[in-house]
């Protein structure tokens, strides 16, 4: 049994009775999930998934309070275990002061969520999604902690464009972002022999512009992000100069149907210096996904997506340079608080989600996977 599961269950039992309590104005909310993964051929996400793995637990609790009509403060603590990633330590998911001057302009500062594409800032809120795994090309779960939030601030607001033109929502941010020492990138670096002496990080800035069109339920938008990374490794250094990432997207919801799609281009030039030697690795990631879902009944939700990742700087016929994933998902809500999900994946390519030490005999180019999850949120 995963070691985090008892802790999360205890958290839920203790806090479940609160059911989103408002104690002297302080709002408390939380969620906990337990996942299961079974895969053919390869071990996925640093789990021994080919034998079936329950090493997938997630939990968070948030506290927030409105000090005045305009000022709100809050904190969310998060704990996760994903195979060999994560661990027993509570992390600050976000902590911020949020001052809303008007409906057109507000700002928040602290550790704030980073908007990239449709789902980046909410990708760890499992309860709001049909999917167990969001499209891994754009939202890799093993590296989500790197992109989720940054230290700094953002401005935000909404600009009504009139009855016939919809509404424009904007967010712009700047700050500092660092790698999660228990996350996927650091583990992959460790597998390659790079051991970090300090937490690697760098400046980040960007924004998101989202247009709620006059066609009800139809939203289009685009995000931009600039991120650099520097870190000291034993015997040398790692440097990724500022790279520009952009991500246009669209979503449409009408009645029981939901459709969404996103494209992203994400280049990175990685330079590793070890003593007198310098190693350079350039990647040019082209990412897109398309998804559709249908609300079958009040409790049942089903859907499918295709997720595509390819490194254009390499030989795109090699499985290590692409990842293509068809997913089919179903969700059942037992009530407003408890839900269960099941999902099938048909994976082609080995570029994402695989680790050397859990696949010591190499990787097969294709793999199928079954994922299941139960969750609780209040």
């Amino acid at each position: 049994m995963p070691r985090l599961l008892p802790l999360c269950v205890l958290l839920c039992v203790c806090l479940g009775t609160l059911q989103a309590q408002d104690l002297s104005g302080i709002e408390i909310h939380g969620f906990a999930t337990q996942g299961f993964l079974y895969s053919s051929n390869n071990n996925y996400l640093s789990m021994k998934s080919s034998s079936g793995s329950l090493q997938w637990t997630d939990g968070a609790i948030s506290f927030s309070d409105s000090l005045t009509d305009n000022l709100r403060v809050g904190i969310q603590l998060h704990i996760y275990q994903l195979g060999e990633l994560g661990g027993p330590n509570l992390q600050v998911d976000w902590v911020s002061g949020d001052y809303r001057v008007s409906d057109y302009f507000g700002f928040r500062a602290g550790k704030v969520k980073t908007p990239i594409g449709l789902f980046n800032d909410s990708q760890d809120v499992d309860a709001v999604f049909l999917w167990i795994l969001l499209p891994q090309s754009a939202y890799p779960i093993d590296n989500k902690s790197f992109y989720l939030a940054h230290l700094g601030g953002e401005v935000y607001g909404g600009l009504p464009l009139g009855r016939r033109a919809g509404k424009l929502n904007y967010r712009a941010y700047a700050g500092y972002n660092s790698l999660d020492l228990n996350g996927g990138y650091v583990k992959q670096a460790a597998d390659a022999g790079l051991v970090f002496m300090t937490t690697p990080g760098g400046k980040t800035y960007g924004g998101d512009l989202r247009w709620d069109t006059p066609l009800t339920g139809f939203t289009i938008g685009s995000s931009a992000l600039v991120q650099s990374l520097d870190g000291a490794v034993v015997g040398g250094s790692l440097r990724v100069p500022s790279a520009f990432v952009y991500a246009p997207y669209a979503q449409f919801q009408r009645g029981r149907f939901y459709f969404a799609g996103e494209y992203r281009r994400q280049p990175a030039n990685v330079t590793v210096t070890l003593g007198p030697d310098t190693f350079q690795s350039n990647v040019d990631q082209r990412i897109w996904f398309a998804m559709a879902s249908y609300r079958v009944s009040k409790n049942v939700h089903a859907g499918s997506y295709y997720s595509h990742w390819v490194d254009k700087s390499g030989d795109t016929s090699q499985p290590g340079n692409y990842s293509k994933d068809w997913a089919v998902s179903g969700r059942y809500d037992f009530n407003a608080y408890f839900y269960g999900k099941i999902e099938g994946h048909f994976l082609h390519g080995t570029a994402l989600g695989y680790y050397q030490n859990t696949n010591p005999n190499g990787l097969q180019p294709n793999s199928n996977m079954l994922a299941a999850k139960i969750g609780f949120s209040f």
Binding site: S62, Q76, W94, V112, S122, A336
Partner: protein, 144 residues
């Protein structure tokens, strides 16, 4: 005799249709604290306030939307005024709460508790299926 039976069935069918029609027409009443200066609200503003994208009434005063935890009045309100199902509404707010972008509207188990809260809280806005005379709340009308 046969004709009388047919008429009886016709009356029953028409009666049932009438009931269905009445059920479809079921609506809720919007309430606001008595101290509020507004007496009407546009459908767009109402939706924006409940979706968290607007925090003030048209007169500039602070709006505090509250909801019922469930039940027919809650579902009717979400469907008629926000065009949402309860699960969609819940997911929208959970997303805001867990990303640090908003605080979920306070929810009440009963209409009585909701009315009492609105009566005691300036700026509070809510809905009920029916209301007895209450000096501390007032009804809002909705404009297009």
């Amino acid at each position: 005799m046969k004709l009388s039976n047919k008429i009886r069935w016709l009356i029953i069918v028409l009666g049932l249709l009438g009931c269905c029609s009445a059920a479809r027409a079921q609506d809720v009443m919007l309430l606001v604290n008595k101290s509020s200066q507004i007496s009407e609200i546009s459908a767009a503003d109402l939706r924006a306030i409940y979706m968290g994208t607007k925090t003030r009434f048209s007169d500039g005063s602070h709006a505090m939307p509250v909801t019922l935890k469930g039940g027919p009045a809650h579902e009717v309100f979400l469907k008629n005024y926000l065009a949402q199902r309860p699960d969609e509404f819940r997911a929208q707010w959970r997303k805001a709460v867990f990303t640090g972008q908003g605080a979920m509207p306070r929810a009440f188990d009963s209409e009585t508790a909701l009315i009492e809260f609105i009566a005691a809280t300036p700026g509070a806005l809510g809905y009920v299926s029916h209301i007895a005379a209450n000096d501390n709340v007032k009804l809002l009308t909705i404009t297009k």
